[in-house]
Amino acid sequence: MSIDIFWRIPTHGEPASHRSRTPNRWDLFPGYEGQGRDEVPAGYSYIDYLAEVAHAAEIAGFQGGLIPSFPMTDEPWAISSVLARETRTFRFMIPFQPGFLNPIVAARMTASLQRATGGRALYNVITGGGGPQQLWWGDSVAHDDRYTRTTEFLDVVRGVWRGGPFSYQGKFYQVEEAGLPDPLSKEDFPEIYFSGSSDAALASASKHADFYLTWLEPFAQLRDKFARVREKTTALGRPIKCAVRVDIVARPTEEEAWDEIRRGFDSLDQETVARFSGGPEAGSESVGARRQASNRPETIASYRDLIVEPNVWSGFALLRGGQTQGIVGSYEQVAERLDQLVELGTDAFILASTPHLEEAYRVGEEVLPLIKGRQSLGLRAVG
């Protein structure tokens, strides 16, 4: 089976490179209101840039892209429908938390988006990190209960998808003889990438997900994790595939790649670095965030202290929000590391690098062609 590779849409702003955290590209990222806004050509807005990133990704050979959704970023269903008509092959990966939408409405929204895009919508189902963040969204359901809700939500979306009549008596949702209308019911059900590391998450993923999606972790740890996911989902009769989100810095030489990281790291103030070594965000119930934080050293003097294994740097969250670990190296090295991830069980990637437009072309042209994917494994199995 071949490997699916996605890119990312920088809804969270676009600095010029990893050396800076300040978005400079039309500067319409909310957090940096004001700077350079006047330079936006009349009649344009940040969506025009996001559209160019989507075009670059589809031209460069990516399946599509994840559209990150945080409290301060744009809403991904809206972004997807806005860009539907002007992209051709780009698949819109929409992260969302089931609790935010009624499942019947979500099914109709999804089917309509499939119709608007020619079947290019897919889900990244997130169940929510909990804590204060969850109440910001207006959601007060407890952590493990939220996974029950996620399972029920997807039960209902799937149940009504082919037109029903579908009835359901859950803890969170009750449905009676509901179904999508024709011709919405003729659309393909979206692929589901599922995020969440806890036991409750895995139980839910086993039932509905196509891909178990994780951030990059130390390779050995990831191998165990994927083995556990496969074991658990196979036991439930529905083995699922595994996917990794990973930021990369790929350059013609390894030296240049690390130099990029060094410059980014050196531009940080001490306080930021000190806070980073302290641990995960207070109050987060996210198991994934805790796992990431546990890999950090107590004191960080140089970017080198954050190199956790060859070509893996665990300071990406310092350079831009989000995940901590990423791959740094020459084109060949990055491709090799990705192939190692394939070997230990990865079936799909969501890659990203800053700036997303130029880097989509760079990675598409220089790294993707070097990735062997399942090819090499197949030969090994035969030999």
Binding site: P30, Y32, S45, M72, I79, A84, A111, Q174
Partner: protein
């Protein structure tokens, strides 16, 4: 006060016939044979679907001079938020009045969706909150809120959406929604709260409108009754130190002559009820019944362009300033109404001082 003309965008389908028997325009699915028959080649394949046609209707409304489109909420049709987003890039100045129910989900999430659409449409999004079906039907669709809760939920929904869009930190604890330390920070908070359209004629609906609506859309009723409703709303809103505008939802059947309009009205009506019953449309003017099973309007205005404009003008004098209009097929009729009816109304109501700008292509 200048009038606003909104054209309806039918979410479920559109066609030439009153009984809505024709498939959604553009819609083809794989196993279906081509309607062109075996003797002809059909280059379309399954490349198009109804979304392509919806896009054309919106463009028709924009090109023919309407101020906005009302994106219909129809549980049997495509979903209105997705349609709204789909139209953002292809339209330039149309207001996108999006119908939906407060049962969609979290009002914070709805506000976030709105903030993005506002950012990229340059503030053209408006919301038309609908009460939705009766409780029995809603309960079947995972919406357990009883009938008495529907309007209060709309109120809370709007309160929370407005809150998170305009202040941070924003907290709210209500019967249907709760937020703690919410509110959009950074740039999303600069986005205008969508204009709010509401409808309904019950006392509770009017009270809700007085509190939250920017535009309250009324059904076509005799002028006397409309004047009374508007006066009642004025009093309610006035006591809250608010003011609102009044809309009317109406279908049009306008032709060059009354005779042609009548002929087509009876033809459409016949396609719904059978040809024997069409005599009930006695003459031109307001017909209190649907001419199409799709549009959802309670009545249609039938007659020559001049007559239709005259009637609309009477509503305007009664206090209506926002017309939500429709007619099938929506594409062709948008061009027709835009070319033949809207100019008559704009001429009639243009203030003297702006005459020259209108002649130069400006708008009243």
């Amino acid at each position: 006060m200048s009038a606003e003309f909104i054209w309806q965008l039918p979410a479920r389908g559109d066609g030439r016939y009153g009984d809505a028997a024709v498939r959604r325009r553009g819609e083809r699915s794989t196993p279906e044979p081509s309607p062109l028959g075996p003797g002809l080649s059909d280059p379309r394949g399954v490349r198009f679907n109804y979304f392509d046609h919806l896009h054309q209707i919106a463009r028709a409304a924009e090109l023919s001079g309407f101020d906005g489109v009302q994106i219909q909420h129809d549980p049997e049709g495509d979903e209105s938020w997705i349609i709204a987003g789909y139209l953002v890039r292809g339209t330039r100045r149309l207001k996108l009045v999006t119908e939906f129910e407060a049962s969609w989900g979290s009002s914070v999430y709805a506000a976030k969706n709105a903030a993005t659409l506002q950012r990229y449409s340059r503030g053209r999004l408006a919301w038309h909150l609908q009460a939705g079906a009766a409780s029995k039907q809603r309960q079947k669709n995972a919406d357990p809120v009883p009938d008495e809760g529907v309007l209060p939920r709309i109120g809370e929904f709007l309160q929370v959406a407005r809150g998170v869009l305009s202040e941070a930190p924003f907290s709210f604890q209500g019967r249907f929604f709760a937020v703690q330390n919410g509110g959009f920070k950074d740039g999303l908070d600069h986005q205008p709260v969508p204009q709010v359209y509401l409808s309904g004629t019950s006392r509770a609906a009017l009270e809700l409108a007085a509190q939250y609506a920017d535009v309250h859309v009324l059904p076509p009723r005799p002028l006397v009754e409309l004047r009374q409703t508007i006066a009642a709303l004025e009093r309610l809103a006035g006591s809250l130190k608010r003011s609102l505008r009044y809309g009317l939802r109406l279908d049009l059947l306008a032709r060059e002559t009354d005779g042609e309009a009548l002929l087509d009205a009876r033809r459409l009506r016949g396609q719904i009820v059978g040809s024997s019953a069409t005599a009930t449309i006695e003459g031109p003017g307001l017909w209190n019944g649907p001419l199409s099973t799709r549009t959802g309007a309670e009545a249609a205005l039938i007659g020559s362009y001049g007559r239709v404009a005259e009637k609309l003008s009477e509503y305007q004098e009664a206090g209506i300033s926002n017309f939500v209009l429709g007619a099938i097929p929506h594409l062709e009729e948008a061009y027709r109404i835009g070319a033949h009816v809207l100019p008559l109304l704009r001429q009639r109501h243009r203030p003297a001082s702006t005459t020259s700008s209108i002649e130069l292509g400006g708008r009243s």
